[in-house]
């Protein structure tokens, strides 16, 4: 199974994250307290959900650069909806968020599926379009905390067994995605479409349609994050979640999801997101100059990529013939 080989990497990531936590807590005593850890998890929840969507897309050999713009548009839309109709029940609002996200994702997916346009081009286009639409929708105005209804703001913050509902939502999404990826036909089709698209066609899998569904999943999750984001930070404006498209890709890469498709796991994506979350949360706490944060995250991403590549290579079989379609390792230096 795919996981067997990768188990090693994921355990390693867990260890690295644990070591990081330990190191940080020597610098800031409060850091490794359960309370703060649950804070970090809670704070990373949105990235985790986005990374799972991104993972689904990357597995099919595509990329979704529009996730953050999707978050912004959906967030703005539900924020405005809530502000103008404070009495709408929350489930309905969440449903609207999921649907808008799914529609935006489906748009990406349709271009990729029906017209065969490379996903990076499509989502590069929709990235600007969706965020632009958020601007057009709101005229650039903000939706502020006092305009939002109590349930809209408070529900994700309710504590349940010590963890806010937001964190639980992430956990549920992780579980659902795990089931989808490992136990459903769609999950297998996603791995197959990315691992070897030609072979997938021969196996009766519609690669285009599989990619479409991957984009719908990614979009739906982004839509959910749109609501969660606005509720969590109690504000909606055009620039929300700026830069998250790259963060979600980075989380996947750190988690060992191959950008060439077909390789990676749910656990990897979650751990990759947590890794970034820990770093992001730790830097302000351990008083690292805010100016070095960016350089540090960059360095970490590069290190993770190098490390992952090393892993891949060392994993070689007894016979060095193990050449994935991805790269020809033994070829002359």
């Amino acid at each position: 199974m795919i996981k067997q080989i990768f188990r090693y990497r994921e355990i390693l990531l867990v260890i690295i994250i644990a070591v990081l936590l330990a190191v940080f807590s020597t610098r800031a005593p409060g850091f490794a307290r359960p309370g703060n850890l649950s804070n970090i998890f809670n704070d990373t929840s949105i990235l985790i959900i986005l990374a799972l969507g991104q993972m689904t897309v990357i597995l099919t050999k595509s990329i979704d650069l529009s996730v953050a713009a999707n978050v912004a548009f959906t967030g703005m839309a539900v924020g405005m909806l809530n502000a103008s109709y404070p009495d709408l029940p929350l489930p309905l609002i969440v449903l609207v968020a999921l649907s808008i996200g799914a529609i935006l994702g489906a748009l990406n997916g349709l271009f990729v599926w029906k017209l065969n346009i490379p996903s990076i081009v499509v989502t590069l286009g929709t990235l600007t379009i969706y965020r632009g639409m958020a601007f057009v929708l709101s005229g650039g105005a903000w939706v502020n905390a006092h305009q939002m209804s109590e349930p809209f703001l408070q529900t994700p913050r309710q504590l349940f067994l010590g963890l806010p509902v937001l964190g639980w939502i992430a956990i549920i999404i992780v579980a659902v995605m795990y089931l989808v990826m490992s136990r459903t036909f769609l999950g297998r089709a996603i791995y197959a479409s990315g691992g070897n698209p030609t072979a997938a066609v021969y196996a009766g899998i519609d690669v285009g349609r599989t990619r479409f569904f991957a984009f719908v999943i990614s979009g739906t999750l982004a839509g959910l994050c749109g609501y969660l984001w606005v509720s969590r930070y109690a504000v909606a404006y055009v620039d929300i979640a700026a830069g998250f498209e790259l963060d979600s890709v980075a989380a996947c890469v750190i988690g060992g999801i191959s950008t060439l498709g077909g390789i990676g796991s749910v656990a990897g994506a979650v751990l990759g997101a947590l890794f970034l979350g820990v770093i992001k949360n730790a830097l302000p706490v351990i008083n690292i100059s805010p100016f070095s944060q960016m350089a540090i995250s960059g360095g970490v991403i590069i290190a993770a990529v190098i490390f992952n590549a090393r892993q891949e290579r060392r994993r070689g079989r007894i016979i060095l013939r193990d050449r994935g379609a991805s790269e020809q390792i033994e070829v002359a230096a």
Partner: protein, 508 residues
């Protein structure tokens, strides 16, 4: 898999019939009004030159391409396939010419992808999948663990998985597009056992191969394609090979290998104790001017690897190479080409040609330094170079500016060989030069190899085909599991000795 006799249709009504099938690609009419019928319990061999349209027919029959015209009938009822799944649902399954499997998935997943057994909740039940895969592999006399990843299998094992995959579908029509191209004789025998069993179960089988001995061994019916048209079909029994060849190429073809005996010159290339950490060990031989040096072995014996190390693709850990008596090190293909050593790779689509680039650009690619002036391209010189080799090989193409990918397999191979000859090498390494090439082109390639040797070129030729190795080589190195199993002189070559050396088994 529990096909009962009750399901067997009446023998003389075809189980599957394709009528008036036509299919065009931009610039090519791949199939033109083709009719073909498959019968239950019978093997139909489909024969034709490269590019005759055989694989195209297979792809139409499995729902990968849709045909422009024509209809498919199963059990007398018309069917339409929008995608591969539709074909599977109707009971058509295929082993395709290219290995179309998933490196990153497990063997069991590869076998059952698309039709895995599900639990009540609609979730895939992996336990059941693994168990069924195991049973299926056992029935193929294989003990591959269904849980390991395909990546970790050898080429031959992958072919078995592909076969198991085809059989995992409870199909009534089984198509095999050159299934034996990568198999050793032993594995071919195993495969034929399976084919016979399928026959006995009443399945209709379409078998595609360029090897006539196999066709005669297994097939009941034949169908011949030429240039996208069906030009003949019928019962195979009593039909002479020559008649089929005539149908196929429109003329009779000399069967003998045109090896001309020439006086061998001095040693030009010497390999001493060449060793790679994992691929091969202690290989030594010498190559003389004008010699054709064969390397024989089973798939995975390490023949390609050693040749690639001469070409600088892989690096040996110890050992020496001498060219014209001088010791050389080859660290990259560029250095090898400069030294006059070239390698025609086995996988032409992946390693041999840039399929999207035009023919002339492919031919000139390794020779750019010569066709250009101080780094600037010279299209006229490139065309001239390409034309020279296109004519020499009787290449069939609409123009020299069409992408190589639009050519048939055999014509692609001609471009690849031409590309390497254009560098005017001293030593030519050919890895399976006629793999998947039709009989007409094959004879041409063989004649050409002889001609080159006659011109004083030294040739190393890797091949899995005994007749080719025996017909063409002056001497043969047999490899087994990365080691030399002996070097045999031309007059001591016999199928028995070679196979015994290659398998290390006296009883094959």
């Amino acid at each position: 898999m529990n096909q009962t006799a009750a399901l067997m249709p009446i023998p003389d009504m075809p189980l599957l019939e394709m009528r008036g099938i036509s299919k065009s690609f931009p610039g090519v009419k791949a199939l033109n009004d083709v009719n073909i019928a498959l019968y239950a319990g019978k093997v139909t061999a489909l024969i034709g030159e490269n590019g005759a349209g055989k694989s195209t027919l297979v792809k139409i029959l499995t729902g990968i391409y849709s045909c422009d015209e024509g209809e498919i009938h199963v059990d007398g009822a018309p069917v339409a396939f929008a995608n591969a799944q539709d074909a599977i649902d109707v009971g058509v399954t295929a082993i395709h010419q290219e290995t179309v499997l998933f490196d990153e998935l497990s063997v069991a997943e590869n076998i059952f992808i698309g039709h895995a057994p599900k639990s009540r909740l609609g979730l895939v039940n992996w336990k059941a999948v693994n168990a069924r895969a195991l049973a299926l592999l056992h029935s193929l006399e294989s003990n591959i663990d269904p849980r390991i990843r395909l990546k970790d299998l050898s080429i031959a094992q992958r072919h078995l998985v592909a076969i198991a995959r085809a059989l995992s579908v409870d199909a009534r029509i089984v198509i095999m597009d050159e299934p034996t191209a990568a198999l050793s004789r032993k594995e071919v025998d195993d495969l034929f056992q399976i084919v016979k069993r399928l026959k006995a179960q009443g399945k209709a089988i379409l078998f595609i191969s360029h090897k006539f001995d196999e066709v005669y061994e297994i097939a009941d019916h034949y169908a011949v394609f030429r240039d996208g048209k069906a030009v003949g079909s019928g019962e195979l029994a009593g039909v002479e090979q020559n008649e089929i060849v005539k149908l196929m190429v429109g003329r009779s073809v000399e069967h003998a290998f045109p090896k001309v005996d020439i006086a061998l010159g001095t040693t030009v290339f010497a390999v001493e104790n060449y060793t790679h950490p994992t691929e091969f060990r202690d290989i030594s031989f010498e190559l003389r001017k004008g010699e054709i040096f064969g390397i024989y072995g089973l798939v995975g014996a390490g023949r390609s690897e050693i040749c690639q190390s001469f070409f600088g693709i892989t690096q040996p850990s110890s050992g020496k190479l001498k060219l014209d008596g001088k010791e050389i090190t080859v660290r990259s293909p560029g250095e090898a080409i400069n030294a006059g050593i070239v390698y025609v790779p086995e996988e032409r689509g992946r390693h041999g040609a840039v399929l999207q680039l035009p023919i002339y650009q492919n031919v000139s690619l390794p020779s750019l330094a010569r066709t250009s002036r101080s780094g600037f391209l010279n299209a006229a010189a490139e065309f001239a170079l390409a034309r020279k080799y296109a004519e020499r090989f009787d290449l069939r193409a609409a123009a020299l500016s069409v992408p190589v990918g639009t050519l048939s397999g055999g014509n692609q191979q001609k471009v690849v060989i031409g590309k390497w000859l254009a560098t005017q090498p001293k030593i030519l390494i050919l890895d399976e030069p006629t793999k998947g090439i039709d009989i007409g082109s094959k004879a041409a390639v063989h004649a050409f190899i002889s001609e080159l040797a006659g011109e004083g070129l030294s040739i190393i030729m890797v091949s899995s085909e005994l007749p080719e190795i025996m017909g063409m080589s002056d001497r043969v190195l047999v490899m087994r599991e990365g080691l030399s199993a002996g070097i045999f002189e031309r007059d001591s070559l016999s199928p028995e000795t070679l196979v015994r050396a290659a398998t290390g088994n006296a009883s094959v």
